[in-house]
């Protein structure tokens, strides 16, 4: 058995036979030509053929992978027909009396170098597009273009790199996985693999040895591993993994679009937790009905200084827009404890979990808080944003927060910056907040129970401490009673209560929560459909 490693750009398991995809060597010779005008004409004709081929590819991609991903072939058509590109080629033919193939290859190098010199990863990747369209022109001109060999059986393609035009030509049902030695996560090939829903690895250390052709191969898109000639044990493990993967996919298909309603008809809001705007895609893929916890820390942790209002506004707006009117509950910064950043200048603490963190920082340094609130309210105009505040212990804190919120709204009104009214909620994650939840419920629009911290504070157990594992009971009655009490107090005041901690995704407890009257469960995107299954099987009334 041989084992190789790469970087996964899309998960999944594929087991099949290996097919090395070799690019044809295309050496371009420089020839002197007599009649430059005729050579220009020959180029123009090749260009027209190329453009009509790209049109066909566009139509094929449109059918296979959808409009958004097919667009690249329309862009390729425009690039091939671009004035600068075409003029450069024609001028070179005319002025230097060289053959069209050579002129295309020279202009290709010049344009590719221009993109490669740009200080933007995405744009650097476009050099591949230039090579792709130029290669097509050269092959048409030299008459070396061949129809792609179609595979009889589904295969795992292993290649140096793949141009989008190559990837899309593969028959969808004949392609199990893509493995390349080069490639970037931004490449269209990676995007196409995602839309085709097949595992794809890039930057893989596998050699393109012809003797690998036809060998049995396993691609693990979760770990980024390729096994050639797997031994029986590996094969067995991976076959099980594949079966599990397919079972989950099936579950996913069946439950997508289904309502989150119990067997006896009570509706539950099933939302997802995210920590980065990039996660929105998986929220939508897993069909969550909203975002129940958007941790805003990433903005602070990925930055070397306080993120500006504009930076924050853009991030929140992007998420709100991508969710298209579905609820997005954003939690204000929860820095401190185990999440620290240098520029906050936080001091070392004896007991950081109980220290200067989250809302305590916001109420001590309101300028940081106000910047975030302004960004949140500005973004509210672009979707259904709600705001929630972490680490609350008292009614006084909530009133102080609401005072600052009012100031921010007045400022925005004065500046005539549009915003909507948003729901304001709090995290219930301290035993204190749970105990006074009857009073807190009168101050806010919703509760979201953060079971991770609530458990740690209630049981007085540090979850990072491995020695305490034996004492740690996630289903401790104290926690469950607290949740029940919080939900009851919320309902008495006419507001809703949800759970956004890890316990919310605990499949053993779904029915318990539903019976308690929990209105919302917010779980990691990958858990959404599993929880949906449990909700649909549960009974709210016993």
């Amino acid at each position: 058995m041989l084992k190789f490693n790469g970087t996964s750009v899309f998960g999944g398991i594929a087991i099949g036979s290996l097919c090395i995809f070799q690019k044809k060597e295309n050496k371009v010779e420089r020839r002197q030509i007599e009649d430059a005008a005729q050579e220009v004409q020959r180029f123009e004709k090749a260009k027209e053929t190329g453009i009509s081929q790209l049109k066909e590819l566009y139509d094929k991609a449109l059918k296979d992978v959808g409009e958004a991903e097919a667009m690249i072939f329309e862009v390729h058509q425009m690039m091939m027909d671009d004035g600068d590109y075409v003029d450069s080629i024609c001028n070179m033919i005319t002025e230097e009396h060289v053959n069209a193939e050579y002129a295309v290859s020279q202009v290709r190098n010049r344009f590719a170098a221009m993109f490669e010199a740009m200080d933007d990863d995405y744009m650097r990747g476009r050099a591949a597009d230039i090579r792709d369209i130029s290669q097509r022109l050269i092959e048409i001109l030299s008459g070396t273009q061949q129809a792609m060999d179609m595979f009889q059986e589904p295969v795992v393609i292993v290649a140096q790199d793949l141009a989008p035009s190559e990837t899309v030509q593969f028959e969808k049902d004949k392609l199990l996985a893509i493995v390349t030695r080069e490639g970037s996560a931004n490449s269209h090939t990676a995007i196409l693999a995602r839309t085709m829903d097949i595992p794809a690895l890039i930057q893989t250390d596998i050699e393109l040895k012809p003797e690998y052709n036809g060998k049995k191969v396993i691609v693990d898109g979760f770990t980024g591993t390729v096994y050639v000639d797997p031994d029986a044990e590996t094969l067995k493990v991976m076959e099980e993994k594949l079966a599990k993967c397919q079972e989950e996919k099936q579950l996913l298909q069946q439950l997508k679009g289904k309502e989150d309603v119990t067997a006896d008809g009570r509706k539950i809001k099933l939302y997802a937790n995210i920590g980065n705007p990039k996660d929105v895609e998986s929220v939508l893929q897993n069909d969550a009905r909203g975002i129940g916890l958007f941790r805003s820390e990433f903005l602070y942790l990925e930055s070397s200084n306080f993120p500006t209002e504009e930076e924050q506004f853009q991030a929140y707006k992007t998420v709100a827009e991508k969710m298209e009117g579905k609820k997005v509950i954003i939690r204000t910064l929860d820095i401190g404890a185990d999440k620290t950043v240098d520029y906050f200048g936080l001091e070392q603490e004896e007991n950081p979990a109980m220290g200067y963190r989250a809302i305590r920082i916001c109420l001590t340094q309101p300028e940081i808080f106000k910047t975030q609130l302004r960004a949140l309210y500005r973004a509210s105009a672009y979707g259904e944003i709600a705001i929630m505040f972490p680490m609350i212990t008292s009614v006084e804190e909530v009133r102080e927060i609401k005072g600052i919120v009012e100031e921010v709204k007045e400022e925005l009104e004065k500046q005539e910056i549009p915003f909507k009214e948003v729901e304001l909620g709090i995290m219930i994650e301290t035993p204190a907040a749970a105990m006074v939840s009857d009073d807190l419920a009168k101050e806010v629009d919703f509760f979201s129970i953060g079971t991770n911290d609530l458990t740690q504070y209630t049981l007085a157990i540090d979850r990072q401490n491995a020695k305490l594992g034996h004492f740690y009971q996630p289903h401790h009655k104290a926690i469950l009673r607290m949740i029940e009490m919080v939900v009851k107090n919320a309902h008495a005041a006419g507001i809703w209560a949800g759970i956004c901690g890890e316990l919310g995704a605990d499949l053993e407890l779904t029915e318990t929560f539903v019976k308690m009257g929990v209105d919302e469960l917010s779980v990691s995107p990958s858990m959404v459909l599993k929880v949906r299954k449990n909700i649909r099987e549960a009974k709210a009334e016993s």
């Binding site: 667009m71 690249i72 425009m78 004035g83 600068d84 200080d119 995405y122 992007t318």
Partner: protein, 85 residues
């Protein structure tokens, strides 16, 4: 000649797809349209040039529209930028 400034709000900037859309949009207008960023000016009808600007989120570009019907064309283009970029 009509001129307007626009600050890119698309998180990915003018990448390949929006550049394609833009070039298509500009092609509807018979006159001359240029985009300038940091002193570099390109023909908005040529996709390689538009892409080579590498205009990113938060950067400001200046669009110049010249020719018959430039008033309307500038208005349409400004709306296009707001909608797509």
């Amino acid at each position: 000649m009509k001129t307007f400034n626009y600050t890119i709000t698309d998180p990915e900037g003018i990448h390949a797809r929006p550049a394609g859309l833009l070039v298509k949009e500009v092609a509807k207008f018979a006159g001359k349209v240029t985009i300038e960023k940091a002193g570099r000016e390109v023909d908005a009808k040529r996709i390689m040039g538009v892409m080579s600007l590498g205009a990113k989120n938060g950067e400001t570009v200046t669009i110049k529209v010249e020719g018959e019907g430039e008033e309307q064309a500038a208005q349409d283009l400004e709306a296009f930028f707001k909608e797509n970029l």
